[in-house]
Amino acid sequence: MGELWEGLAQAVRLLITFDSDLVEITLRSLAVTCTAVVIASAIALPLGAILAMRRFKYRRLTIAILNALMGLPPVVVGLIVYVIFSRSGPLGVLGLLFTPTVMVIAQVIIIVPLIASITQQALRELWSDYRDLLISLNTTIPQRLGTLLWDGRRALLTASLAGFGRAIGEVGAIMIVGGNIDNHTRVLTTAIALETGKGEFAMALGLGFILIALAIAVNIAIHTLSHTEQEGRW
């Protein structure tokens, strides 16, 4: 119990002193994860919407694949990305290993299946409501996609936020591909792992509390910005 309190105290201390290391790694965590969420959403939202509109035959298979991908251990994703971007790997020439860019790539791979899967589930009902109308109006596939994404935006926000939650707390993959290099690729989660390894539990806990506060703050901020709470169900 004592360590928890010490951790909390440490978190408060880091916050009020506006610790420059802390600010830096927090901003890096946010930058990497937000970029990954934006890119992953751009891929996964249309993908999920298309899946929602498909008939069962192909759908079952793709959804089974998505679910399997969702269960991929991040460490393994990190390992594969590492091999691909390592010196001798197929994309080694890009020299991206141990950069924030490759951390973004790993996170995108980890959260695309999650966001696509939630999107698919959320838009299923919407599509069954709208199907007759949209077909009757001779809408094109892109028009259907646009309509579903727009009218389902509330649920899709939740899907993206789930992706954010998974990415910001992820440590295995980005530790491997980013290398936890000070001032370069160190983020909140890898810093926590490092401090824990060193036996600095108070510091690790402090960072942990800040990570949790960050995740909650982003969720609240986005929900408030989009006025979703006032709008009711839709």
Binding site: L126, D129, Y130, D132, L133, I135, S136, L137, N138, T139, Q143, T147, D151, G152, R233, W234
Partner: protein, 236 residues
Amino acid sequence: MSMFPIHARAITVRRRGRDLIGPLDLSLEGQGVTIVIGPNGAGKTTLLRALHGIERLSKGEITYASPRPEALAAQAFVFQSPVIMRRTVRENMAYPLSLRNMSKSEISSRVDEVAERVGLTFALNRPARVLSGGERQKLALGRALTLRPELLFLDEPCASLDGRATREIEDVLNHEISRGRRIIMSTHNMGQARRLAQDVLFIHKGQIHEAAPADQFFTAASTDAARAFLNGDIVE
């Protein structure tokens, strides 16, 4: 170019090993109001959807006098249970127009005009989900009318509406009919069928059991099933 006459030749809609309608033949000319009646499950909805081109045909074909895409673009369908989009009433009505290259101001003036006609002006800025059943039907009708379709399908547009709401919808329909809009409509309300029909299609067990001009059908239906149906008997 007009899509009429429409010819349906030996069309069949088969699902799960059962013929829902057909094989049946039908020709539709470009004027008037065709009322489709028949018992529950007879195949009225299926027939309307097939004619509108949104129900896959298992056999047969439907041809329009104009090219198919053009013909389909000049039709609108009001569904048995209205499709309400998760938007405001105004956005619901504007939706079909927003799919076409039409200026914002033209869209908005058309929506205002149609809302006025169906009596929804007061609700334009409300979320459509708060509308009552009758208002939802009016919304679906108004949304279909914004397109100024040459042919309008209505699948029981007054189901579960009270007398007053039914009359309001009929007033709108009469206005459209007077302007030459072609209407094909199913209903279980025989009073409404008598008021609006010029032609009647009596559907029974997936077949057109009887097709006749309205006055003839209502005074002297030629089949037992149609007479029984008109009498309010249960048609087997």
